[in-house]
Symmetry: C2
Subunit: 293 residues, 2 copies
């Protein structure tokens, strides 16, 4: 059984990116520049943004952070996005989610120039993802694909079951896994209204769990020899940790792992890859790979 | 066993649209206006465009046709699209596919203002479809959803198998069928590289065949009581017809129909609904429902 090590893979990719950035800089190009917009002081969001900035440093990117308090108006936020859209020094930027309730999330996402939308959330990037065209892919599904490829997991013609239909994981993951250009698997998507989820899961050669329910996938739901990817990152209280919580995946790792040919753990699996894919998207933005600058 | 009558359903919907258009006109609004761009003289394309114009008449829409010869340059076509984008009299327009090989199809599709893209092929509409947001849906999957709804087919939690992963049917169909806002089913997508397609199909409560292989779905692939939707419209030679061909679906209708709780035939099933959905999209464009005008 192989443990799919997202941390180690992400470290390798960041080194690859850093090497390429040094080449670019030596050739006279400017460093890729990722900006992040952070609203309020949510602990999770603070951590994510901090880790994104650290990843920029590891990759040799410039980074910048724009902060707003929770009471920022939608108009102020949209004005900031407009500035970032027009700022030629910024190659790509993200607005860290979630947003305060008084701000229309979809309006904010669609205000971002799709050529700088390194999160891949703008409808143009979502649409190009669905069509199998080159674009900024949503980072989590992109990271999972990258893990499957780097671990030489055979995909073409295999059966893949995706648990969850969120806009940022389940839906794009299923699209990528069905496309000839990417997974080329036979894909089934299960969700809260699905019947016989255990039966569906047992058919999977590749099982991708992204429902955010700690320990949902048990040993009886997994076919022996399957590849299991755990996308769950639910914070569950844990008094033994200094932070007061630990991250829990959607898979009962201890009982499922022995059945698998390969499995990604939580933490250290998909999570580190997600930020790393944001770096790859930023590099692609700097190089103008998907869209003319 | 119910025959899902797309022709009769489309006729009802066109009457509903015509009644609404008369109300709009009586209230002082202008008639919805669909323009079509037709390149060359391909028999299929000529027929499709003719039928679209006839449907416009049935719905009380204005229509207009812009014709080019096969040797039109991409620049000429893009200039035409630009004019139609800016023409306030035109609510929506389509560029009939396929295009001559020397023209970049994706560039043409992306040149269309997404607010007038009543075919739903622009990445913004594809992306909003994938996200479950209101937009111009691709007409064929939209027509299938409408048939399923009008025939009161129970969908939530059912198992749906989609055969085919084309950008205009299989992919958007699978997205719509998985979404809470639409089908809310457990969806499996099979394609040319899938293994055990017959086994997958036999699990389907709703089987949607869109692979363009005449008679591919046989009785042994269908669960008794299933709903079968046949999207195939392959022209097969038939010397007994004045046209020299007949349309053949993907399903062996004679042997499959007796097993089904409901089935859509070819012709007279999905086909008439597709053009009808183009009319609904054009009406929505005229009313500015999805996008501000």
């Amino acid at each position: 059984m192989t443990i799919i090590d997202g941390k180690a893979t992400a470290d390798i990719i960041k080194k690859e990116i850093a090497a390429e950035v040094e080449q670019m800089v030596n050739s006279g190009a400017k460093r890729p520049h990722l900006a992040a917009v952070l609203i309020g002081h949510d602990g999770g969001s603070e951590t994510y943004v901090k880790n994104k900035i650290l990843a920029c440093q590891a990759c040799g990117f410039e980074s910048s952070l724009v902060r707003f308090e929770d009471d920022v108006t939608e108009a102020e936020l949209l004005a900031c996005i407009d500035r970032l859209n027009r700022d030629e020094r910024v190659d790509g930027f993200i607005v860290q989610l979630p947003l305060p309730r008084h701000i229309n999330k979809q309006r904010v996402i669609e205000a971002i120039d799709h050529r700088k939308d390194v999160d891949g959330f703008h409808p143009i990037n979502v649409g190009r993802t669905a069509l199998g065209l080159p674009c900024f892919l949503s980072a989590t599904p992109m990271g999972i694909l990258e893990l499957l490829k780097r671990y030489n997991i055979e995909m073409t013609g295999k059966k893949c079951v995706v648990l969850g239909r969120s806009n940022i994981v389940g839906k794009p993951m299923s699209q990528l896994m069905m496309q000839k250009e990417h997974g080329d698997t036979t894909v089934t998507v299960c969700h809260s209204h699905s019947r016989n989820i255990a039966d569906e899961c047992r058919q999977a050669d590749i099982l991708i769990a992204a429902i955010g329910m700690p320990g949902y996938v048990t040993a009886d739901m997994v076919k022996p020899g399957a590849v299991v990817i755990d996308v769950g990152t639910t914070r569950v209280p844990d008094a033994s940790r200094p932070s007061g919580f630990r991250l829990s995946g959607d898979v009962q790792f201890d009982e499922v792992a022995p059945l698998c040919s390969a499995i990604s753990p939580v933490p250290g699996g998909v999570g580190p890859m997600t930020i790393c894919m944001l770096m790859l998207n930023t590099l692609a933005a700097a190089k103008g790979i998907y869209y003319e600058k």
